[in-house]
């Protein structure tokens, strides 16, 4: 039986944070009961609320809270499995928060109702004032246990905001806990995470021209990657972190180069009078995909780095605008910006299919970035002229991270951080 699943979530947020709104979910979600955690009441309420939001946002869960349940066991001994079976619940989660002032520890257990047994018992050691992080770790543990896929609640998203200033911001994957990495009076575009998620590369116009910088997130230490008189843009890190692919304009036209970050040697990858830009590496680093105008309209091409002098191979054929591609982490396909008539959408193409799958349907969707587990794509939209971030899961759930202040764009999802 197909279950209709529609959730709208309201949450209280501080003004500068992004609000989460789930607009659509999957057809056949997991039914999960989360009993209020015992122990420190304030922290427990906060943690459980974040846990519920994180699970809902994936579009794969229907959550049952205390008021929806027949019994609300505090621990394993109090569980009456039948009370959950009657409600057709798949999993039950109970937990406890220990707060001894210097340390906060969460313990939680997951029970498989159909099997009538405990399937997980976990402990997460927190840091004072980082209860969101604690909740994200629990969320990922729960997600992993139930779906068999690594969760992304504890990952981060980079994005650019514009109001009086341009800001490069890092936030939790739910859009909360925003922190500014860079503030500038000039535009910032194309943020890209290093594979270890400790550094970011981005394009800043602060010198009056597009230039690529690398910045260490913790220390704020940063450097201009190449000093020359022409513009440089579109940085992308190789999966091993040793190289940065870039677009350079030294002969007046956009061409792709690979920079060795250790010895600063540059290797030219493209040589064509048309635009070549938006390079990105395949998950194993053996190929580079990029956007090229060589056919007369922007299309995606791939170069095999294992072959010398390899000829770029065109990989998109449908429509006259396919750009800014990224590989799925399992290398089974690509996500990119596709123009249909005059609207720009985010689209997915699996390598073993000869058609593309549109994932979004607004007017000016751009900058798709894929979560490290490959399940979610965050992208930028324009709503009544204002830049906002949206998300879509490959299972079809959609959510929004609307800005309450300024325009938001250019999202980039980190790797796993747990």
């Amino acid at each position: 039986m197909k279950k209709l699943f529609l959730l709208i979530l309201f949450s209280n947020v501080t003004i500068s944070e992004l609000i989460l709104e789930i607009t659509q979910g999957t057809d056949d979600p997991y039914r999960v009961a989360i009993v209020e955690f015992s122990g420190d009441k304030d922290i427990a309420n906060n943690v459980v609320q974040i846990l519920k939001n994180n699970l809902r946002r994936t579009g794969e869960f229907v959550i049952f809270s205390n008021e929806d349940l027949i019994s609300t066991p505090k621990d394993e001994n109090e569980i009456i499995f039948n009370d959950f079976k009657i409600l057709n619940i798949d999993y039950l989660i109970v937990g406890n928060i220990l707060n001894d002032r210097s340390n906060i520890t969460a313990e939680y257990e997951i029970f498989d109702i159909k099997r009538g047994s405990k399937v997980r018992s976990s402990t997460v050691y927190g840091i004072p004032n980082k209860n969101r992080q604690l909740a994200h770790y629990i969320s990922d543990g729960v997600y992993e246990e139930i779906t068999g896929i690594e969760g992304v609640a504890s990952t981060k998203i980079l994005y650019v905001t514009e109001d009086d200033y341009f800001r490069l911001v890092v936030a939790d994957a739910d859009g909360k806990n925003e922190q500014t990495l860079l503030e500038s009076s000039e535009p910032i575009i194309s943020p890209s995470w290093s594979p270890d998620s400790k550094k970011v590369a981005y394009v800043s116009f602060e010198t009056g021209m597009a230039k690529v910088f690398i910045q260490d997130i913790a220390s704020g230490k940063r450097e201009l990657v190449i000093e020359n008189s022409t513009q440089i843009s579109s940085p992308s890190w190789s999966p091993d972190g040793k190289f940065l692919s870039l677009t350079m304009y030294q002969d007046g036209n956009a061409e792709i180069y690979i920079l060795n970050l250790k010895n600063k040697n540059l290797t030219r990858l493209t040589n064509h009078y048309a635009i070549d830009t938006e390079s990105t590496w395949s998950p194993k680093g053996s190929k580079i995909m990029f956007t090229s105008g060589r056919s007369g309209s922007p299309q995606l091409y791939e170069i095999d780095l294992r072959k010398s002098n390899a000829i770029p191979k065109r990989i998109t054929f449908e429509g006259n605008y396919n750009a800014k591609g990224s590989y799925l982490p399992n290398n089974e396909g690509i996500v990119f910006v596709h123009r249909k008539n005059m609207t720009f959408q985010i689209a997915l193409k699996y390598f073993d299919e000869n058609f593309i799958r549109p994932l979004t349907d607004s007017q000016l969707d751009e900058s798709p970035s894929i979560s490290p587990n490959g399940n979610v794509i965050v992208y930028a939209i324009k709503d009544e002229g204002m830049g906002l971030l949206s998300g879509v899961t490959l299972s079809g759930a959609k959510f929004r991270l609307p800005a309450t202040e300024g325009a938001v764009r250019e999202p980039a999802w980190s790797g796993f951080l747990r």
């Binding site: 405990k118 018992s121 976990s122 194309s190 324009k382």
Partner: protein, 162 residues
């Protein structure tokens, strides 16, 4: 960010699958996730070349969607620019290319550059020394007009000469 304060902070995921119950037991610590904020100082962007401003006030040429070819109207504008440059041989100019917001930001940055290069090529072909010209692009990042309609877009697909 994500600096691990001590060894205890490393992810200690002890997962053991007991053969009879198949239950996962895990233990882990959250990372601290420190972030530093940097303020960029824009040292060149505020620079205005007043000499060239006086000569080329409002000298802007416009382009068709996804195109960097000069239109006949653009060439009319550029002819007077060539004359002004020849009459004032000491001034340096900057050509800033721009695109409308449709399409991806990096592709638009490259498109803005091509537009600025097309203007530069025309000026050089008509006798302007290339050492007097700086070419750059802002892509879609600095629209002249805000708006999601063709009239706004057409005003944003441009090269500014100053």
């Amino acid at each position: 960010m994500f600096i691990l304060r001590n060894k205890l902070n490393f992810l200690v995921a002890i997962i053991f699958l007991s053969s009879c119950s198949s239950m996962n037991v895990t233990e882990e610590s959250v990372y601290s996730g420190d972030v530093s904020t940097v303020k960029a100082s824009s040292y060149e962007s505020e620079y205005i070349n007043y000499d060239s401003k006086a000569v080329f006030a409002n000298a802007t040429v416009y382009f068709d969607f996804d195109k960097s070819t000069l239109t006949s109207k653009s060439i009319q504008t550029l002819k007077s620019a060539v004359n002004a440059l020849n009459d004032n041989s000491s001034i340096q100019i900057t050509l800033s290319g721009h695109a409308d917001e449709r399409g991806t930001r990096e592709y638009n940055l490259a498109l803005g550059q091509r537009r600025a290069e097309a203007v530069s090529d025309y000026l050089i072909l008509n006798g302007v020394n290339k050492n007097r010209i700086t070419v750059k692009s802002y892509g879609e990042e600095k629209p002249a007009v805000n708006g999601q309609d063709e009239i706004s877009y057409s005003k944003n697909r441009r090269v500014e000469i100053n």
